[in-house]
Symmetry: C2
Subunit: 341 residues, 2 copies
């Protein structure tokens, strides 16, 4: 630490930046453990996601955005499982060059998303690493016992639906990389398109990549009406394959019904090859779910009441494969899923 | 990944190495989440600890030992809180050079400690990092509601006790670094002592550092009889200061009663300055606890029935300070705690 700027120690750091985000179960963050107390008849859903600087976000992204994303991707998993957030623990590996200003910004972003999600901090660990920043969050939610929405519940005949719009995250990564970092491309897209869409669309897409909105308002509706669900984090095509594999089923998908934002449509207009990126790229954090013929309209109505659009994009089949159709023709995908690993 | 050896993808890796360690709550590790179902009247204790290669262990330590330690330090926290292990999630950031043989060894070590602790894997995330290996584990235990043993419960007049022997971890780090890595010293100790104790003692100490034994068998006794507890991970002196700060109390400690192993005594005989390292160095993973005058004998007896020695080392006072005495004289410590951060 010789020559390093004067910085608070771990305990001071916790007291100053993290204790204000702590919930009752965090016990003031002065104990070795936090507590989860599910209400009678409820159980705890646990999900964990790690993010690495340079892999899942740019190291020089705003600290508040990094914090927001790290919790948002976990809240997105809870939403998909039909769970109400109850708390989270943060494991933070800080690279040697961290500053107190960075940490203050980080804590402010974390406090904001924790407040929005009603998901308080209940514990954590902070360590120093010679490598890149790594954040690992484990988040907890509650569901009535036995009512977590699984990946494995899709049945032949069920309707397949997605929330919001698909593809903004992957397009947004290109737009953000282009605007903030002067990068020419990430993945398969040609970067030229970024300069050919409006600044408003570029900004919309970059924001969708930087600041995913977990669909927490959908959790109750999913828990009541969905047969299976997961969040779309690694691309619609790849994640649908995972859901169907867990459900031992296949699907017919009409790609023309996959909802796209105006900005994504403008990007695809500028470069038609981007349609594939929209369907297969990661970072959407929308909900992919299935519901029976009897339940799916109730699900759509309940989602609408919660302010979230759910659109039917296909049907579950008893075949092993997923058949995609676009403009009346069969379409297949070479690479189904965006892999961070 | 060009030129890299052929290695399994994330999903194959999970199925091959981690699914066999999964408990029922892990849902086969094919969903986005795991489940915790505390029994009626119980609540969930949550603890999290991150370990960084080169900081908390040597990068070339055996993979099975690294895995064991990562879970053991979390189980140690659960034991201190009086909790029975229920499961854990693992967040694994693998450096670019990982091999399947390394991972197989890692999973085998993890399976063994998970089995010993009856603490199954219920979820996780695996990511790739250009930096060092980082493991973050969040572990869950159950206690009857309201009965978690806090740090903050020590009251003036309570007896202060520690389990097992103190100082082996910090001495073992030197012994292990000397034997396995040819390092001359970590911390303040002179390395000469390592060559002046028997190979048996060196091996004992190195093993205590590499393979901490979480005191799970003590959990039930602590939950029944202790007023406060924490595990000794950052050194007895520093951790006692934390417990007393949380309890708003002070203490009188007789250092001559702090239990030392035969190997630690041999090391201190070889270099008397090591006594300070034993009292202040990290990695003991013993239990530091307090119990009232009425309860402490019951606690010692219950611990003995569980096969663990608990020794009284002092008393809680209503003063703000901790007064240490050694051979009848007052003693103070310049640096109380070993800080990884």
């Amino acid at each position: 630490m010789a020559g390093a700027p004067e910085r608070p120690g771990e305990f001071e750091l916790i007291a100053r930046y993290f204790a204000p985000i702590a919930g009752a179960g965090g016990l003031g963050l002065v104990d070795d453990a936090g507590l989860l107390r599910p209400a009678r008849g409820y159980e705890t859903v646990v999900t964990t996601d790690a993010l690495v600087a340079g892999v899942h976000f740019f190291a020089d992204d705003p600290a508040a955005s990094i914090a927001r994303k790290a919790l948002a991707v976990n809240l997105s998993d809870l939403a998909a499982k039909g769970a109400r957030p109850e708390g989270f623990v943060l494991s933070l590996a800080l690279p040697h060059g961290w500053t107190e200003a960075w940490l203050a910004d980080f804590a402010q972003g974390l406090a904001r998303i924790a407040g929005e999600g009603a998901c308080p901090l209940i514990g954590g660990d902070t360590v120093s690493t010679p490598g890149p920043l790594i954040l690992s969050i484990t988040a907890f939610g509650s569901v009535p016992a036995g009512r977590m929405v699984p990946r494995s519940g899709a049945r032949p005949g069920d309707v397949i639906l997605v929330s919001g719009t698909i593809g903004d995250g992957a397009l947004g990564l290109q737009a953000h990389g282009f605007s903030a970092h002067g990068l020419s491309a990430h993945g398969s897209g040609k970067p030229g398109w970024v300069a050919r869409v409006s600044e408003e669309h570029r900004h919309f897409l970059a924001d969708r990549y930087l600041h995913p909105q977990p669909r927490l308002a959908l959790a109750a509706a999913l828990q009541l009406h969905a047969s299976a669900a997961m969040d779309v984090s690694d691309g619609l095509v790849g994640d649908l394959a995972k859901l169907l594999k867990a459900s031992k089923a296949g699907a017919e998908i009409d790609l023309d019904t996959v909802p796209l934002s105006a900005a994504a449509r403008a990007a695809i207009m500028a470069d038609p090859a981007l349609a594939e990126l929209a369907w297969t790229g990661g970072d959407d954090y929308e909900i992919l779910c299935t519901a029976s013929e009897r339940e799916y309209l109730s699900l759509i109505v309940a989602a609408e009441a919660a302010g979230i659009a759910l659109v039917a994009i296909g049907r579950v089949t008893d075949q092993g494969a997923v058949n995609y159709r676009e403009k009346g023709r069969a379409r297949s995908f070479a690479q189904g899923s965006f892999a961070h690993f």
